[in-house]
């Protein structure tokens, strides 16, 4: 059996890649992909813990969070669609009306 730490390491790696992507990318679509990566690394964690602690809560939690991630992506794409209609592209660096 693969040790639990391998799963945790993989999840941490995916999470870090996602966080790095969120901080460096300017395109809205890539941003949503990176956010999905972060959420899914947490799901991996939940499922791994669920299997190693012999409880089902983690898998249930992961199912709920998958559904929520989908809803979140839907809202995100809707917002980016509205931005696209206004600016003809989704470059987040160009949105800088609000600042002090």
């Amino acid at each position: 059996m693969i040790p639990l730490n391998f799963y945790l390491g993989l999840a941490a790696l995916l999470f870090s890649i996602g966080l790095y992507g969120v901080m460096t990318h300017k395109s809205g679509i890539r941003l949503i992909m990176c956010i999905e990566l972060m959420l899914n690394s947490a799901n991996l964690n939940l499922v791994a813990f669920s299997s190693y602690t012999d409880t089902l809560n983690g898998q249930v939690f992961a199912l709920f969070s998958i559904a929520l991630a989908a809803a979140e992506a839907a809202i995100g794409f809707a917002i980016f669609m509205a931005i696209y209609r206004m600016h003809d592209r989704i470059n987040l660096d160009e949105l800088n009306l609000l600042r002090w």
Partner: protein
């Protein structure tokens, strides 16, 4: 057996939300204006049901939902905010094509916040948290022809989703170390987290995740932009409602579930509270947009509430909880007053249209919109903590408990901050009452005036007759410690 009557307020809100959404599809644009009254009625009913059920305690649905004094108190806070927002939005949404969507989202967000307040399980907590967040992302971008509103929604969405991911990652570690998602069972097993690197990682991730929602510095960068760019009524919901949701979730997770890790998170909250209140007040001084200034002042207020995590005596927690209620009235009211000015500027098409909530547009508001100006004055004085307002009572309870607990340095910092905040609040009052008006009298539209007077009444009642509210807050705090 589950007694559904205990969930009557939530059911009332959810049913009203769905009903508004479905009936709106079949109505003509003129007839849709009545949906606002319908939503207001639903919120009033839920408010009545919540107040009627004060004092009941129950754990439902296999221990995943807990009705107790804390959840009842915060439900009251969220419903008050929803009531003020729905009333004011009757005018804001007049003759809009999307009224049903607006009210459905407001009600669903309120529903999510109410469930966060009574969550007794991490799964329920996370789902309810996300429900409220998703609804408010969409609301922030409600004016989809307005680039500012879209930018606000984009920033809120990106940072909100990242914070949700951080929170979920942290919750997964809590679950992994304790093997359960039930908050009382985590508290019982929390010995497993002490001196365990997983516990420390979880605390860091959860502070970041909740810190975004509570808008504590350095997790605040979305808040000023979002509060400024969103429609004012939505800013009211975000600053007064959504932020309190972050606090009640943090109360449940840190103080109840992770009590064993108190030394770890207490230190973090000490730093966050001091930095947040100082940063918020200092930056607010130089703002020319009133909504942005209110956003920074709202950061400062979050810093005061976070003092409850630092002091951790029952009295301090009661102070923090009472502050949440007071802040709901003050901040929702202040944003709605700013919304009335934005309405005046955009409908008259004169003044600073680029930034409709610019300080210059508040010149002579005392003669142009007497009710809005008076209400705004009450709110900013309450936010500064001047008696006899709710802000004074909440600060009094919180700061005196800090001194009693021996943390005089913290109380001194907080009081100095309050003094600093008076500067920019008084400047707003000067603009409203001592500078000449640039335009004739407009008068405050009835829905705005009603919402503002309700909020003024709340601020003054808590300020003049605080005993029952302090008592309720004490009962709510007794759930935590």
């Amino acid at each position: 057996m589950v007694d559904l009557m205990l969930l009557a307020p939530e059911i009332a809100i959810a049913v009203t939300g769905l009903f508004v959404l479905v009936t709106g599809i079949f109505m003509s644009p003129q007839a849709k204006n009545m949906l606002g009254y319908l939503a207001t009625f639903g919120v009033l009913a839920a408010l009545g049901l919540t107040v009627a059920s004060f004092g009941t305690e129950a754990v439902m649905f296999s221990g995943t939902v807990s009705i107790d004094a804390l959840s009842q108190f915060f439900k009251l806070v969220f419903l008050v905010v929803a009531l003020l927002v729905s009333v004011a939005a009757i005018k804001y949404n007049e003759d809009s094509e999307h009224i049903e969507e607006f009210y459905a989202l407001v009600l669903f967000a309120t529903f999510g916040m109410m469930f966060v307040a009574s969550a007794n399980d991490l799964i329920v907590l996370f789902c309810a948290f996300e429900l409220a967040s998703l609804a408010t992302y969409a609301l922030a971008g409600y004016e989809k022809q307005n680039p500012r509103s879209l930018e606000a929604a984009m920033k809120y969405f990106v940072i909100g989703s990242v914070s949700a991911a951080l929170m979920l990652f942290g919750l997964s570690f809590v679950y992994g170390a304790t093997g359960t998602t039930s908050i009382p069972l985590i508290a019982a097993n929390s010995g497993l987290l002490v001196d365990n690197p997983i516990g420390l990682v979880a605390v860091v991730l959860l502070i970041a995740g909740f810190g975004f929602k509570m808008a504590l510095v350095p997790f605040h960068m979305w808040a000023p932009d979002t509060y400024q760019g969103s429609p004012s009524v939505v800013s009211a919901l975000l600053a007064a409602g959504s932020k309190k949701m972050g606090f009640v979730a943090a109360f449940r997770v840190f103080i109840v579930a992770l009590a064993a890790l108190q030394p770890d998170w207490q230190l973090a909250f000490t730093i966050l509270a001091v930095v947040t209140m100082t940063f918020g007040n200092v930056v607010a001084v130089s703002q020319t947009s009133v909504k942005r200034m209110l956003a920074y002042s709202s950061l400062a207020q979050a810093g005061y509430i976070a003092m409850a995590f630092v002091v951790m005596t029952p009295m301090a927690l009661a102070g923090g909880i009472l502050y949440a209620l007071a802040h709901a009235f003050m901040k929702a009211g202040a944003f709605i007053a700013a919304g009335a000015v934005v309405w005046m500027v955009t409908s008259e098409k004169r003044g600073n249209l680029e930034v409709p909530d610019h300080l210059d547009n508040f010149k002579g508001l005392g003669t142009r919109m007497p009710i809005a100006a008076f209400a705004m004055m009450v709110f900013v004085f309450a936010l500064a903590g001047i008696p006899p307002t709710a802000g004074f009572m909440a600060k009094f309870v919180l700061f005196s408990s800090t001194i009693q607990a021996g943390m005089i340095w913290l109380a001194v910092i907080a009081i100095l901050n309050s003094a600093l905040s008076l500067f920019y609040y008084a400047r707003l009052v000067k603009y409203m009452y001592f500078l000449p008006p640039e335009g004739e009298k407009v008068g405050t539209p009835f829905p705005y005036a009603l919402a503002l007077l309700l909020a003024v009444a709340g601020v003054l009642v808590i300020g003049i007759w605080p005993e029952p509210f302090v008592q309720w807050a004490m009962e709510a705090a007794s759930v935590l410690v």
